[in-house]
Amino acid sequence: MDRPYMGALRRFAAILVADLRERSRSTRFWVVLALVGIATWWCFPPSNAHYQTVGFGDNVRGIYSSAWVGMVLGLMYSTMLSLIGFYLVRGTLVRDFDTRVWQLLVATPMTRRGYLLAKWASHMAVFTLIMLVGLAVGAVAQWVRAEDRAFDLFELVKPVFVLALPSLAVTAFFAVLFDLLPWLRRTGGNVLFFFVWIFVGVSATGFVQPGPATWTHTTWLSDPNGMALAMRDLYATVSHATATVKASDISIGVSDFKGKSIVFVWQHWHVRTIDLLGRALWVALSVLAVSALAPMLDWAAAKTRGAAGDGAAHPGRRLRWLDPMLRSFESFASGVLFAAEVKLVLRQRRAWWWLAMIGLGIAQLAGDREALGIATIGAWLVSVDVFARAVLRERDAGTGALVFVAAGATRRLLVSRIGVALILAVLAVGPALLRLAFTDPTAALALFATAIGVALGGLAIGVACRNPRPFELLLVMLSYAGVQSGGPLAAVAKPLDALHLQAILLPAFAAILVLLWPRFTRAR
């Protein structure tokens, strides 16, 4: 006799398996796994290398024991994979809605909660697979680096399980949530998640701030990334190895240093039961939060763009004022193309975008120099979808077969698309350019070059990756660095650095476009 829960379990498993098959049968999935393997290997540099990826300060790290390798992987995955993983796994619900598979599923006894939990579990399964690849590479790295060849599987897996799993459970929840909310399904969500990730990461500070004396009773819940737990227990060991570091000196990511690294012994991580309960609570909260989204599933599924090829986006506003402005272009063929590209871009802009651009324009004109710099970055950031998706328009709208059978279409479209992207990138910072042209011509030149870099970079990375997400993520990360006067977008704060960088990037982007665009158009 078949019990009701068995049926539900079978449906859950069927959705999960179908989702995993759909993902694992794409080349991108296996490329990502290979890249994870390479990146994991790079996390364990040899003893004579002048960088480290996880440690304290710039040059203090554990010897490559199973426990330390596991800790490195746990911290890297709980922080970095919780960011990048979101962009890897999201989109499965949107795919079901857009391809109308949802309409087939909704006519079955499947429950809404079961469906969402299966999607969440599918995200987790992908994360688990990635972590397994990482653990295998980590084990090999431990053997090859030969600092401590005593292999302890439990110590290797424990940090990954304790630190990364809850963190990724939260990311999987956000991937489900952002797929459900129509306005977060594309670029808007990709940008917003970066700030969510920052917020989640920053929340760690709140647990650490009280200081070591209060750790024992404030860190059991820890933060979603488990940073407070790791910092608490690592600091107890590392403070014996070197007195110069503080708990908050923990660094995750690349740290360059000169001279030799300082190593400490880390062969066992004692995790208290209450700590495990705290970590399990994050997983449970994620599951509950996903379950709580079930009532909005039907509403979310109704807000779909329809089947692939049914149009790239909403029709948007008519913007009749554009017609007379572009009329003079429409007297020659390339002008018609340019005018149509401009209309396509601007008509689909939402009201908030126009308001944001006006606000950022005023800030560029009236703000102090720091505000001016931030406003220029903001103007590019709110337009990120234009740069990231411009080259993907035919794919998104399903017009490739109409467009690319025309003689010379490849060249004509590339020229007009570059033109429109450049003009938008420059106009977005137009007020700042005007102002700087009179007060600081070098900064104006750097800003102009950076605008070209943003436009060409979006097109080039879109062509190379055939996906808007890498550029969206990159621009968001660079914007974050830029507002802190770092990175290639800080053209106003560091104009000479920006000019030097763009001198390298612009030819590279141009070369990518010229080389890959024709191949990209043939691949449709």
């Binding site: 986006a313 948007g316 020659f332 003689a407």
Partner: protein, 293 residues
């Protein structure tokens, strides 16, 4: 006006090893070629090769003597293509969308304006040209697709499953349009709907499982089925059984039973009567005979 398309031993193999087109040879001149075949026959793959969207794995396609894989623009300037699935830019009006595609095709601006008006008129959208495509029905979008294929007054017009999504009236209008367009140009009409081809094709090619089963005049195909079409009145209770035993090209419910149209070597029953085959019978007879049905 030169208008000759030659397909020489074309094969197309997908990266997963599936051979969608297996050694097709065709020679086509002005007129309407109906390309028939069941779903999955390889028609759309062949259409994409002819439209320069895919390159054959081996073999070649010549347009007026030029290899289109080496010199795609030699064909593209004279090509109109309506794919099976296509999208539109919803933010643009039909006229703006056609102007955009005319510019992509390299039409001079003044000529483009005239052609856009002409093509919108041909597909019955003259009054809807300034409405945005986001507001169009599926059938109207399909007509926009047909209009864009005609923009450059193509010498080769390839239409892939063009009547899908059209209502009966639109379908009829399309058939008339295709008949009117033929003349000095070559129209390749790919479909699995025999009546679309029956109405207008001057030549016929039938594909199944990637192979070319027939190439010739429609009358030739019909004559092959002479003596193999049968009219058989059966009680309703025997229809299901008949379906499992014979290839049925049509059925008509009547008060005294169901009149079945059957294609078979021998009469399905002593009381079945021979009848003159039509194109549908001949097509099904060919597929059944070749084991491709």
């Amino acid at each position: 006006m030169a208008c000759e398309l030659t397909v020489e031993s074309v094969h197309y193999r997908y990266p997963n090893g599936h051979e969608a087109v297996s050694g097709i040879d065709l020679r086509m001149g002005p007129g309407i070629l109906g390309l028939l075949g069941p779903n999955g026959a390889g028609k759309s793959t062949l259409m994409r090769i002819l439209a320069t969207l895919s390159k054959p794995s081996s073999g070649r396609v010549l347009w007026n003597g030029e290899d289109i894989a080496r010199k795609p623009d030699a064909l593209r300037v004279e090509l109109g293509y309506l794919p099976q699935d296509f999208g539109v830019y919803q933010a643009l009006s039909a006229r703006e969308f056609l102007a955009y595609l005319a510019a992509v095709k390299g039409l001079p601006s003044t000529l483009a304006k005239t052609r856009i008006d002409d093509c919108l008129g041909l597909v019955g959208l003259a009054d809807a040209g300034d409405r945005r495509l986001g507001d169009f029905s599926g059938g109207m979008r399909q007509r926009v697709g047909i209009a864009q294929a005609l923009l450059n007054d193509p010498k080769l017009l390839i239409v892939d499953e063009p009547t899908v999504g059209l209502d009966p009236e639109e379908r009829l209008r399309f058939r008339h349009l295709i008949t009117d367009l033929a003349g000095e140009r070559l129209v390749i009409l790919s479909t699995h709907i025999v009546s679309d081809v029956e109405a207008s094709a001057t030549a016929l090619a039938v594909m199944a499982k990637g192979r070319l089963l027939f190439n010739g005049a429609p009358e030739q195909l019909v004559s092959q089925a002479d003596g193999h079409a049968w009219d058989w009145l059966v009680p309703e209770s025997r229809v299901a059984e008949a379906r499992t035993q014979f290839t049925i090209s049509g059925s008509l419910r009547r008060p005294d039973g169901v009149r079945l149209r059957i294609v078979a070597t021998k009469p399905p029953s002593a009381d079945a009567q021979a009848c003159a085959p039509d194109l549908e019978d001949a097509y099904l007879w060919l597929l059944a005979r070749e084991g491709a049905g």
